[in-house]
Symmetry: C2
DNA sequence: CAGTTCTCACCTAGGTGTAAAATT
DNA sequence: AATTTTACACCTAGGTGAGAACTG
């Protein structure tokens, strides 16, 4: 999956052990098609039947709160497939559907049955974060030129398709000289999240947990 | 370092957590030179002054005894350097000296000060294994054709230097068709080790620890 | 014919020994 | 003269979109 989701985590217990995991859930019950002349995704019927749930457990798991908080947690190794019989542990999605990635922070002492092929457990030791700007629509071929350009311009592995003849604009050219530049990040506190989800309030333990999202572009 | 050291471990407590680490210690206090006409390494003076000790902590650390015992533990990412100012965490050695790799099994509850830049602690919670057949002499350029051929024939990354014109012998040709072939392994029990090292006896906890060595060729 | 699969050239990233050049 | 460093071609391994081929 590119761009990869990247998060910064604050407020964990430095000495407690945690798993961090991602799953990807349907946004609605619809199938979509892209209408080129209006540049919009339109509903094209009901969703296909749901697929076996998969969870991507971040490869740095298990790690201490301290370790997680000292790094940007990147999900750039997460892979997607439309093959419902996949045996590579990839996350299985339907093409032409809308999905929302979720980040789960799972306390070790609560993770008795954490598995790549079972839904993430819910309860006191697990907190889940979603960032609405990361909703995406799955395709098997790109439906418009903007997304193709984003992919080619931002993914190092697609360098071979960059049109070096096409000149960058003045601003872009300047940006390129700042190799360390990163787009602005957005911060979402656990309180924001609980409000958004109309959740009934978290334990003290989690009250300071903050997770910040930035795209890896 | 190629060929990489690979070990199989038996007899750990499946539910206990362990680090596994490697360091490389001088075999003697001498510097060597290779005498081509006799195909032998000869003493060529006293060793250079010792170098800051480094430890390679196996990247699968920290893991349970169960996890360690279920896999072949391979040290193929271990890197060597002759640069005493190295800041990449590589193990620093002198060229033209004889060295012996050691494998350390370190119980988590004993590993308070385990660090890549400090000597491995010794004591009740740490057991160390050496395999005399892994002694090697460091060089900056290969000193004889046999070692060059071993490196080129056995290391996939050196495939570009293989002389596909030179025909394999009948036996070698047959061997090559068995992709899964591995050289015989040698088993060393902790008792063997204690005898060899004239150690004063281990705790019950470790009495069944066995470590088996095989080269990754 | 919209959607999917497959093969391919072209990249990133990094592990090899060679041979020339530099060092001591 | 022996040893070490450096630039380089050639690999492994795997992530890209293009475009042809295929599917229903």
């Amino acid at each position: 999956m590119f761009p990869a989701m990247r998060v910064k985590i604050v407020g964990l217990d430095p000495h407690q052990q945690y798993y961090i995991a991602m799953d990807i859930v349907p946004v609605d019950n619809k199938r979509y098609r892209y209408v080129y002349h209006s540049s919009k995704w339109m509903v094209a019927g009901n969703a296909d039947s749901p697929v076996p749930p998969r969870v991507y457990i971040h490869p740095d798991s298990l790690a201490s709160g301290d370790t997680w908080m000292r790094q940007v947690v990147s999900f750039d190794k997460l892979k997607l497939t439309n093959n419902e019989l996949d045996d590579q542990g990839h996350i299985i999605l339907h093409s032409m559907h809308k999905y929302q990635p979720r980040v789960h922070v799972i306390r070790k002492d609560f993770s008795s049955d954490l598995s790549p092929t079972k839904p993430v457990p819910s309860g006191e030791g697990v907190k889940t974060f979603s960032f609405p700007e990361t909703v995406f629509t799955t395709v098997t071929a790109y439906q418009n030129q903007q997304i193709t350009r984003l992919k080619i311009d931002r993914n190092p592995f697609a360098k071979g398709f960059r049109d070096s003849g096409r000149n960058r604009t003045g601003l872009e050219a300047i940006m390129e000289t700042y190799a360390f530049w990163r787009p602005p990040v957005r911060t979402l506190t656990f309180e924001d999240f609980t409000n958004m989800q109309k959740q009934q309030g978290g334990s003290n333990f989690w009250s300071s947990l903050v997770i910040t999202f930035g795209m890896s572009v």
